[in-house]
Symmetry: D2
Subunit: 389 residues, 4 copies
């Protein structure tokens, strides 16, 4: 086994992967949402579950909230509650896909009243940010159309630009606007922010505190995602990741589950582009659906996958790689990259966890903890959280 | 305008496109199911809506049922009710994707008890068929896995074959088993019947009354669907179509909306392969989701699209086409096909409708009928039908 | 048949579709390049063939050149020769994919000497532009890598930006730099300009006379191309089209052959975004491969397809469309678009051609002209033009 | 590091990966074929290069020939020459894509004379098999069409079935017919054998010695290849693999280079389905293009990749896996699979090589051998082998 240097371990110690509160609620497909015992009914229960992931891995110090799913009266109190659990409140995510009036659009709607309603929703999200101290307002815009002719593609862009500028103007201090893109779903003909180019064009028009969010599941088949990572880092506009994995569409599987080598290449470009450096604007976050598997272990598995792959990315001998690249040694350069990928970093990371008072095997520790049984027993009655609540 | 011959019009007169009862209920994505006024609460209301489509187009004489969504106590009475509305009961569709016990499989489950439960569900569907006189049991198997290793791909096939053989053995008389395939969703790593080859291998193992169902939205990107149509017709195993259209995944848009030329090519292969001939085993059916558009006009638009495209397919000068093909005249052969596609058949079909006592413009006639307002006013209270009911 | 208004016909009269000189040479796949009798051996013969297309359609007044394939000593003389044939010299295309030294990159190469060689090639292309009066330097950059690690994605971007800035600085007057993007091929892991976002980021960094070229075959499966058209028009950076069509990858089939409805939607966005207006920066061009079909008729078919689809796009009742869109009438808005698409514009265009002294049926006129036989008889010996010459 | 058991090492010792003679010739894209010093000019030189791969890895005891590229007068002599180099002659591959008469089809052509010519070519290939003792006739059929209407899809299938039956009838003894499928290229609308279902339908119609060849690069995007592997093994019709890897289309990159985890899953299904057992009908072969990288090291890298991944597949604790699958433990079952994948098998395989008298690092050994320089010096003049020769 290749030794993992202290420098690498120190870098890994600074890595933080934000968990989405909704990962602990039920998720599913249009065909069925399966429920499971112990699923949280409240934001506090979601935070409690997220705190388990952080307690066992040391990797997930903050939790993203989704408004209105995670609306509470007193965010100071919620932040304090979270703090007691050892986690903080992170990114605030807006929701413009579940109000009946948004059926044909929100920030892009032809009706100025509905557009303003959607803008106001983002203002309310910024109010939450002010209360929680969250830095990022993340906008995943579900707007789009299903049929050619249904909407005016160009007019929708113009209205989107106008709506975004009003939201951006409301931000203050260090607050940032992060605009996610997605090729399709929930709409099937056009999405109003379908690709990184569109998100990039909008955020550069907004200003310096606007960034692109890259969800690894939101691309056309065969898109080279690490290229986009490298390009956005180069342009200074990569704000955050939504990590997950996919075989077909936006499958929202556990990050690294479908194509671990792709995750490695992505993280290598993050390292290469300074995304792990001090002061980097890049934030890491999960955005997944545990449709059939247990949710808390699913999140543990996910943050470990990101950490292990980051370790492999950091293992790449970049000096040797550059030399091989400059020499035009195609196979040699590739071999240097692959050598890091094929290195089994798990034993070294287990030792590192032990040295930091964390369980060497977080999944086994979770299974042994009895937490799963405990919440299944305690959380009886009420309405389990899901995408609708 | 190219004249449409009497022969073509006579062929069109025999075309029947089955409507799915669930098309009239609410549908949506995992993000949101939008409801709309007038949505049926009962099977009878679904049948009433379907009957409107048939009344205005003359194209949709039967309605497919979905069990258990359309479970009633007395199917003879339901059939009689439908008959009074001018429609019949058609294909019976089973459902193995909404019971909690099917989370990890139904006909393929490792647990023999759950497999038997799923088999018993199909026996119950056959009982319905016996009561309604339906010919086809259509099985769309949602079984699959989300993660590599989760299931034993091979073992699942063996169990599937066993389960299907038990169901097939229960059929009697002219009853048929039609096995649909789908590349992904609701599962994201494997589906147990992902492609036509798998469906074909299973139905040939079952016997002569087992056929493949081709859903036009269930393929990998860039799959040549008309090739599969031609091949299955050649092999004598094309049992039915589920028509819809797509830009990305299984979008379930109105048939012909996304790629009208593809629909034309598909229907041309149907014609070429004898799929419209007397005694053809091929059945036509819609399977779509009207997430945001009005449902009854959506179904009217759909059957008209199929009819118009069938007319264009029938217009192809096949003698000239064969001559050009045999002469190796690439551009000439293509031009003969395109000439039919670019012909505007709508005026001729309007005349034909008029000659048969149907409205020349079915969509305008529906708008004028007041039916939409009537059901919106009448259908107040109760639970609107959807995929869950 | 819907009447085509004089306004529409006048707009069509201004449409010009540039032909690529290389369309008249042999093309093929990596497996085989089939030759055919009459294929040009020289630039002059290519121009003569292109002039036939223009003579019969009135749509193709200019011919794009590819350097070094179309290198001649005296471009003034060549322009004069072309002028005598009734055509002009158009866009100059550079070539950085056939020199052995470009195996691992040209404008992005790690070796400054090879980068300068590639830059110098573009200077030579600008010299040709100065001699011919061509406005556009079109750069399709084939640079990329085949294996992860082979190249430094980020470093290649930086070198590309530097190389492009040197080329751009050499342009003068009204000359423009148009940067094409392509997702893959000839490289299979990364391309250095894989998507419109990358091209857009580079051209905005260069200056106001730098634009994006959109080749309709250069996208990932299921990419919504008309969205990109609308977006680039909105951003003022759509410089030109390379038209062709595809079922799978960069198939380079006849434009409109694979998905005529997509071509319609693209041209509708061109119309919507002012791309046909006076002073529009958008240029139309073909870029196809006639691997198995006759080349001159293939080009005639292509320009007719673009014209017919432009006519359909212009037929859209935009006032009614906007009203339906604003009213949220999904099916109504779609129907307005489809009505134009399904209108058979061919008879009106035939009349229009007649009124302008052009043959009503250009393909029949070509067949009758005997030109094909003539060049087959005359062009004996020499080396047929292809991608290598 | 997980120990690799003696049982596993013994299984690995039986693995043989056939090399294609054409891998040592030049390959490229339609844009450019780059040449390199030392490229073979003759079949003997190809065999010499292939023998280097086997000498250093012990994995590649046979070489596939391509007719007519590898036509010689005396195959007994060629076999003897190969034997002296330590390798044998393997699969015979036919070629129906480079004769001008096959432009519109070979085994499917409308002209019976051209069909017979293509059939006769396969008879000639069988004659070679008789001379060399090769077991497999592999048919990759490039036939297809570029434009809708160009050919009669159904008629082409019927003619194909007829042609194949004539070829099959000519086989004798243990000889097998292996039919490869491919979704697209060199044709872009239809391929006559586009998918495994089509190949399967044809080979079952032929007889027991007809099998399917699965080329890992010949599928639509997002196709689950290991499912097809499992299915074909279950149906008893998986004859052979053509290994390579891809990001986009049929990129023909080094096997395992683009998606190592996919290769692992494929090989796991091979193991699971008995494909490595004694008497298995499954043959392993490479089919790649080394467009820019060195060819001999490229082949060494490839066979090592297959071996390493086979070792990982053999490491899967199948008993534990089955238990987890039966228990419905989604994450647990997945973890068992991933544990094998993430195990670094390279040190154990290096030891194993050492124990068998092979170099521990075959690539370093090749670099040290001087063979590359030697052939570059010796092979001067003549015509380098490529796809055309």
């Amino acid at each position: 086994m290749t030794e993992i240097s202290t420098t690498i371990l120190d870098t890994l110690a600074t890595q933080a992967i934000e968990l989405p509160s909704w990962a602990f609620g039920n998720a599913g497909t249009r065909f069925k949402v399966f429920s499971s015992p112990g699923t949280p009914r409240t934001v506090r229960e979601k935070l409690a579950d997220a705190a388990q992931v952080n307690r066992l891995t040391g990797l997930a110090p903050t939790v993203a909230l989704h408004i209105p799913w995670d609306l509470v009266d007193d965010y100071a109190e919620l932040a304090s509650y979270a703090g007691d659990l050892g986690v903080g409140l992170g990114t605030i995510n807006s929701n413009t896909f579940q109000d009946d009036e948004y059926k044909l659009g929100s920030l892009t709607h032809t009706d100025p009243r509905i557009r303003q309603k959607a803008i106001d929703h983002h203002f309310a999200c910024i109010d939450v940010m002010d209360a929680t101290g969250s830095q990022d307002l993340k906008i995943w815009l579900p707007d789009g159309t299903n049929y050619p002719g249904q909407g005016d593609i160009r007019g929708r862009q113009d209205r989107l630009a106008d709506s975004l500028s009003k939201i951006y103007a409301r931000l203050s201090g260090e607050q940032r606007l992060v605009l996610e893109y997605k090729i399709f779903e929930p709409h099937f003909y056009t999405m109003d922010v379908p690709d990184w180019g569109t998100s990039y064009a909008h955020v550069t028009a907004l200003g310096e505190r606007a960034f692109v969010c890259l969800d690894t599941g939101h691309h056309a088949p065969s898109t080279n995602i690490e290229f986009i990572v490298a390009q956005l880092l180069r342009l200074g506009r990569l704000g955050s990741f939504d990590f997950n994995s996919r075989f077909y569409a936006d499958d929202d599987l556990i990050v690294g589950a479908a194509d671990p080598f792709q995750l490695f290449r992505i993280l290598f470009e993050v390292v290469r582009g300074g995304g792990l450096d001090d002061g980097s604007p890049v934030r890491f976050m999960l955005d997944q659906c545990h449709n059939i598997e247990d949710k808390i272990p699913g999140q543990i598995r996910s943050v470990l996958n990101v950490q292990e792959m980051t370790a492999r990315a950091l293992l790449v001998d970049r000096e040797a790689l550059t030399a091989a690249q400059d020499a035009g040694d195609v196979l040699g350069a590739n071999a240097i990259l692959m050598d890091a990928f094929y290195t089994d970093v798990r034993p070294a990371l287990a030792q590192w966890r032990e040295s930091r008072g964390l369980p060497t095997d977080p999944l086994a520790a979770y299974a042994d903890s009895g937490y799963g049984k405990q919440i299944a027993d305690e959380r009886v009655g009420g309405t389990q959280a899901g995408w609708g609540a």
